[in-house]
Symmetry: C2
Subunit: 120 residues, 2 copies
């Protein structure tokens, strides 16, 4: 590990670590990672298509989660000039930049499951 | 990005992504990242020293968080043969393996703050 990446416990430590907790908070819950991964894989999607691809999510929940992601500049919402009006959602470049972290978390999570299973 | 690291939306997708959510859940809350980072930086610590280094954490909370981390095999608890008895906590190799993810989250969180600040 390069030195600049060390989790340093100097005077700025608490603030530094809070930035990590920010990321945690932004991804929090059951659905955000799934929404991000789906948009990352499929490209721009209409609300109904997104809901169809994410099994088990209700429309109220999806709507709220998308709003959160939009507020955090991770998802871009575009109203299309169609009749009836349609809305499309896509990942912003900032949203795409989460791919690497989500993948690391996925791989670590898989290793963790093996570890826990081996103990039992 | 190498192909094997892609967040694939095939039949195993939901299960794969749940592994990422597992990681999220394990790190969840205000304190776990701070405890992991402190033990990672300082090496083995007694309970009181750990509490002193993590500003604002109460002993009940610290105790509960350490128990969670122990259950998840991230922290090792050693009872030392001293009088009075003392207990030492240290990061397991499995716990140490979170360093890279926490650092990625920290760096992303910092970039995110800048992004949000620039919007306002």
């Amino acid at each position: 590990m390069k030195k600049k990446e060390t989790v340093a416990l100097d005077s700025t430590c608490s603030k530094e670590l809070m930035a990590a907790t920010d990321t945690l908070t932004i991804l929090n819950g059951k659905w955000k990672i799934q929404i991000i991964a789906t948009l990352n894989y499929s490209g721009p999607l209409r609300f109904m298509d997104l809901q169809r691809l994410i099994k088990g999510i209700g429309s109220k929940m999806l709507s709220r989660e998308l709003q959160d992601l939009e507020t955090n500049l991770l998802v871009k919402r575009t109203v299309l000039n169609t009749r009836p009006m349609t809305v499309e959602y896509e990942l912003s470049p900032h949203g795409k930049s989460l791919e690497r972290i989500i993948n690391s978390m996925r791989l670590w999570g898989k290793a963790h499951r093996k570890k826990i299973a081996a103990r039992n």
